[in-house]
Symmetry: C2
Subunit: 246 residues, 2 copies
């Protein structure tokens, strides 16, 4: 990964004061069937192939190049490492604590990570390996986001804390912002939308009250279509008409 150029820069800088380098990482959430059957939040992780934390799972990310905005860098990194193009993406936080540098690594450059969080629809969760070879694809895989639902308890660097913070932000934001729609396809039933909220919040919601609260919500449009094929009364399909990304 470090080119001859960046090595040269580091060598110059190491003698005096090393400027922190900039990286972009992203926490991507998608809703998939969980271990207990009910839908759960999952995220794609990348297995580290070098020290530090070799072999451990880490957030997808990479360096920031000079010619792109921060969000563009996040999207590009996402496409390169996972093949995903999220429907929603938003900046989470800039992490730059000193304990982030692994003390075992000699001359390790300090890294400041600007972390984004993103949502992808369940039907767009196909992962691409870093190469195109099928054998390489084991280095990118989906994991439950929450350790309480079978997710990994520890990740490389401080990525476990970052994921927890992203989970907190998603849970806070779903209560007042139009965020849940980005985990669903173009058309969905109110029951499906409620299941999204239930999965994110981790508790069941009253169908009647949930429906009434959505009545006052903008950008939620009832269509004339109904979801056929169910075993009982077919529910009406709705559509989200607001902006696709904030």
């Amino acid at each position: 990964m470090p080119s001859a150029l960046s090595r040269g820069v580091a060598n110059v800088a190491e003698r005096a004061q090393l400027p922190p380098s900039l990286a972009i990482s992203t926490v991507i959430f998608a809703l998939r069937p969980g271990h207990e059957g009910c839908p759960t939040l999952w995220m794609p992780l990348v297995r580290r192939v070098r020290e530090p934390f070799r072999g451990q799972w880490a957030l997808p990310g990479g360096p920031l190049t000079a010619a792109e905005s921060l969000e563009d860098a996040a999207r590009r990194n996402l496409a390169e490492t996972t093949g995903l193009a999220p429907a929603y993406i938003e900046q989470l936080y800039a992490f730059g604590g000193l304990r982030r540098a692994h003390r075992d690594e000699v001359g390790a450059q300090r890294v400041v990570s600007i972390v984004y969080w993103a949502l992808v629809r369940a039907d767009e969760t196909a992962l691409a390996g870093q190469t195109g070879l099928a054998g390489e694809q084991e280095n990118v895989a989906w994991h439950p986001a929450d350790p309480a639902h079978g997710g990994p308890g520890t990740l490389a660097f401080d990525h476990r804390e970052i994921v927890d913070y992203a989970l907190w932000r998603l849970r806070s934001k779903i209560e007042y912002a139009q965020v849940a729609y980005h985990l669903l396809g173009e058309m969905f039933t109110l029951a499906q939308l409620r299941e999204v909220h239930e999965a994110v919040l981790g508790r069941s919601l009253d169908p009647a009250n949930f429906r009434r609260q959505l009545k006052g919500t903008p950008h939620l449009e009832a269509t004339d279509h109904y979801l056929e094929g169910g075993r009982h009364r077919p529910p009406r399909l709705y559509r989200y008409t607001g902006p696709r990304s904030l």
Copy 2:
């Protein structure tokens, strides 16, 4: 400002892909008497002494050195440029849009700014110049934060947008978090606390309802002291017992 070292790094990097440099800036708010008499939000700004935007007002800030956390860097920059030590500080956002680079500057390095916002008490708003000389202190001065209250409509770089975003965050956060206390001294009356909220929110609040809402608030402790010296019934003094910084 650019040392021989950082120049050397830039020269190496310019030939191929220039890594973005990292800076920390801070929006500092304090409550001071406004132009119409009522208390208003003010912020300290630094006049630029070099291109680009020479002569214009900008947020205090500076580079991130390798040996400090992001928040420590913000505090150190604040002390160096303004002499202030805020009671509350929190990360706002990382700004890295490409339009931030001024096109007039040849070979300008792209700067990603991690911006913090902070609150200082009115009794701690004495500014220090960058040198100790009285003549130099004109390059740091307080300005109303909101253009609607006499603040500067344009600032250097994209700093006007950044200040507006910080104002939005402060106004949002004062409604659900314990931040207003950090604009006041150790002891204060409920009327003073209400004036803080009114100044930040830009509208008057019902004294009776405001008092009742605070009843359920944690970390607000009634003392046995009263504010003497007023022209009428002396109000009780309260104290904030929560954490000093988040």
